[in-house]
Assembly symmetry: D2
Homo-oligomer: 307 residues x 4
């Protein structure tokens, strides 16, 4: 956990991802990447040890690029997660006031999260989507014509020295973004008692019964899911895989048995790591699903078979 | 299978159980016992090696005495099964004709299986229940007053030399009784590919969801049940255990995993043996539940955990 | 409930069924019948209004004759139930002592419930099975040779004036027998809030998944089962129907919807009545399954369809 | 279906949505809207009769804006769907060649679908995201400096008269986008035998068992799902609703019963319409789930309750 590692992150500098990176204690030599794919590829190639990328936002949902690249890549694993409350500011070039804004730059996901505020306060102003919120601030710094504004993180306004007009403009002040640390495959960190396991599950057949059968592998072992995302498999419409975060660790007996069942009922199961929950919340253990229950059952079976 | 063993059976001589015993090829020194409990107890005590007792009849259902003693006893196992088509004769003391019968002796289960025939052909004649069909024939031999008749197996009429009045009087000529060989606990015979496993399952709680959870342990591994009997646990009304025969063998991977699951969700699981099916019928293997599928899943999990 | 009706019961006089009949308040002209079938037939034919017969015993399980005749008969319904604690006495002909007993008469079901006591106290004495416990006492009265004993209800010993040697000889002093009142089909009594519904369910196919599908019709509507008995359909070994008592009344919305589902997934569903529970115990209503929840759902659907 | 209606669509002119609109036969006065929300709002307000918006793409997955606004809005319904194969061209300002491209404009979703082609053929060229593929072509027309290219639909290149450099550059030539017609709430079109029903389902509790219970409402009535998307409810991380397309029509008995069940087990169910499938594919009817089966069950229940 504390061995220093070289990190990539979804850049440019001063993005929310950059800000999330500050919560990690093993970072050396952080390096921005232009997109999620580039950061992930750099991990695969060994240029960096790990990459921090967003995976989920409480307002916008899953980050498709991250979900899809993780589902497609080989040799990668999630080794940690970071939660970051989402706070936006409206900044603008020097001399610009609320009344004189003629264009707003931001990232589409940020746009979605301040849409209500913008509709109310700047209804007539066109919004132009750019690659990142930090990039929006950077563009203002590079071309400081009056009338230009950006929606970004406070850190971006600071970094690029663009004056802040309004703080806290997010529509939902409980919004949270979740980031994951992606590393090359290795032994997972030992269970802490409050862990998550991330999987991608490919249905053998795409009917409702198949998803039911998949979910039953978790439910029948008392394993709760904290995230489930359906993603197209990119072949035909209606063909899905499911990206899930399940409570528990690869080393837990109930997770092991669920994985065995999933391997049998799915076309493919991709294990993307077991890692500590950022919120430290331990699962409720259903009676009959503790490690000791599985051990007792296994001992009984071994005795039946061995005599 | 062919090591000679001393056998007890539900007597007296010339019962259906005695006739079923003739199908076994490892019997030496067959000995009749007055009831199922006595035969089972003799196995427990080591007086005999094995006991043959009826467990199920296609018309009358489960044989409660056998089910309940097997559920209660320790150190016993079912090691084989025998199927016997049920055929009854009406025999009577010398000189008795259909018109002069004044009393019919038989066992209650036999009575139930010829009830239609008796109602039609001897509607006014009282039926007296005795401990076995063979005992009915024996009683006629011992006290050959005219007017006395018995419903029994043909072998009983022969053994006790009581004249047969009418053959084939069973209401259902497809009726079959199933017998099981009970032995002391030992390693089950190796899987033949067409095996049964007998279990007694005690619910943790007596609600419909609990039975559902139990059945799901079989269904989710593609295991079919060929028999399910609810039996009272003899405590309060509404408290049941379930005696089941499941397709497959203790050594099968899917059965092993079902047993692990049952051990976790039940208050108690009693394993009563895996043995070849008398009808030699192999189960249909659901995709994903063959031994190879479980082995592949286990290898995958071991590789995930081991790296 | 209080309109006087002519009743039959499983006789002869002084059986446990006779004693249970005393708990009913609408009985006129009680008439003993020699067996369950005869009593049921008399209801079908209209000779009597109703019949009281045993259906279940907490030690011995279901009463096959009752279950099977109810499953087979047409035009019948269960309209009430009676619970009776089971208490046995040992009575014997005048002058007989414990040490001089040479033969014990009783019904097989009674035998099963005092087996432990007999094994301990009269291990060497042969037991002869007769048609009813009352019949056992009657036989002693008719043929009072010394050495003859009977296991029966206290009421039988009194009725036939056979001296009681030992009271309370039941192995399980919590044993209860449940009796049902069988009437011709009519509108069920209105729901009391603590009702049972009795059904016979015939599987479309005899695999474990089929039973699971049946049970799910109850479980998914929050309906608990207080009794489930598998009974052979009397065709081939392994072909079962299920006799169940479900908590609730035909008029309850959740029961109605469960019946709709059962009708669709079963080969046949036999409705055998909704009637008040003898123990007055009201069910726990799962959230979303109250009548109001079904009514709200139906109103919503009607509104969607009607606009 | 053929009454002329005023339509809005996700503009500007020459988007894929515009092209999809050409498949509809009841369009008068098509009007572009800057985003999905604006188009939907115009339907709510009555400015237009209907809006055509994208809802799903076989490569990129669900269109969040459409899913979320439909989940949030009141008084709207999906009344038709349109499928459009996705084909992209690379166009560029006059005089630009593959070798001289310095910037590529396109929409992020389009970018995702030609990413492989761009990586191979124009690896070093920066991609700038704009609000629509048509907007990218329009921007080139407005500012035709050499070196600028756009990825867009062929119709956009034509409309804005930007020369096409390369056709068919989509990575997956099976890619399809699905569009839906959004109208104000009205009676759904009658069932055609090949219909879809769109619902938004809000879980009562967010555990895996709750989703299982929801899916079971479909599976137990033999209803297949052709789309399932989890979407955040925009409150806390891990709180989801599910946007689903189920096979069948509001008027189908099995769908009606599934809706009743969903209404009982969900916190909220939003019905978003039943409409003909664009592919005309009729569902496979599971035994016991045809309209006739539900009618037979209902008739039987009515007869039980009515007598």
């Amino acid at each position: 956990m504390s061995t220093p590692r070289t990190y990539g992150y979804l850049g440019p500098e001063a993005t929310f991802t950059h800000q999330a990176l500050l919560q990690l204690d093993d970072v050396v030599d952080p390096r921005p990447f232009p997109d999620v794919l580039a950061a992930i590829d750099a991990v695969v190639e060994g240029t960096i040890d790990a990459a921090l990328v967003p995976i989920e936002n409480s307002v916008e949902g899953g980050v498709s690029a991250t979900l899809d690249h993780l589902a497609a890549a080989d040799g990668l694993m999630i080794t940690a997660e970071v939660l970051l409350p989402v706070r936006f500011v409206l900044c603008a070039t020097a001399g610009t006031t609320m009344g004189s804004i003629t264009e707003i730059l931001t990232h589409p996901v940020a746009d979605a999260q301040v849409r209500g505020w913008l509709s109310t306060n700047l209804p007539a102003v066109p919004v132009r989507h750019v690659g990142s919120t930090a990039g929006a601030a950077a563009e203002l710094a590079a071309d400081p014509r009056p009338g230009r504004a950006a929606v970004c993180a406070e850190i971006a306004a600071e970094t690029y020295q663009v004056p802040v007009l309004v703080e806290e403009i997010a529509d939902n002040d409980l919004a949270v973004t979740r980031f994951v640390v992606i590393s090359r495959v290795a032994r997972p960190t030992p269970p802490t008692g409050a862990d998550k396991t991330t999987l991608v599950l490919f249905q053998r057949e795409d009917h409702s019964g198949a998803l039911l059968e998949i979910l039953d592998q978790f439910a029948s072992r008392g394993i709760n899911l904290c995230r489930i995302e359906s993603r197209p498999t990119k072949t035909t419409l209606g063909s899905y895989c499911f990206s899930v975060d399940a409570e528990g660790h690869l080393a837990d007996a109930r997770m092991g048995e669920a994985l065995l069942g999933l391997h049998r009922v799915c076309k493919d199961v991709k294990f993307l790591g077991s890692y500590p929950r950022a919120d430290g919340q331990a699962p409720v253990i259903t009676p009959g699903t503790a490690n000791a229950d599985f051990a007792a059952a296994a001992a009984w079976l071994a005795q039946l078979r061995g005599r």
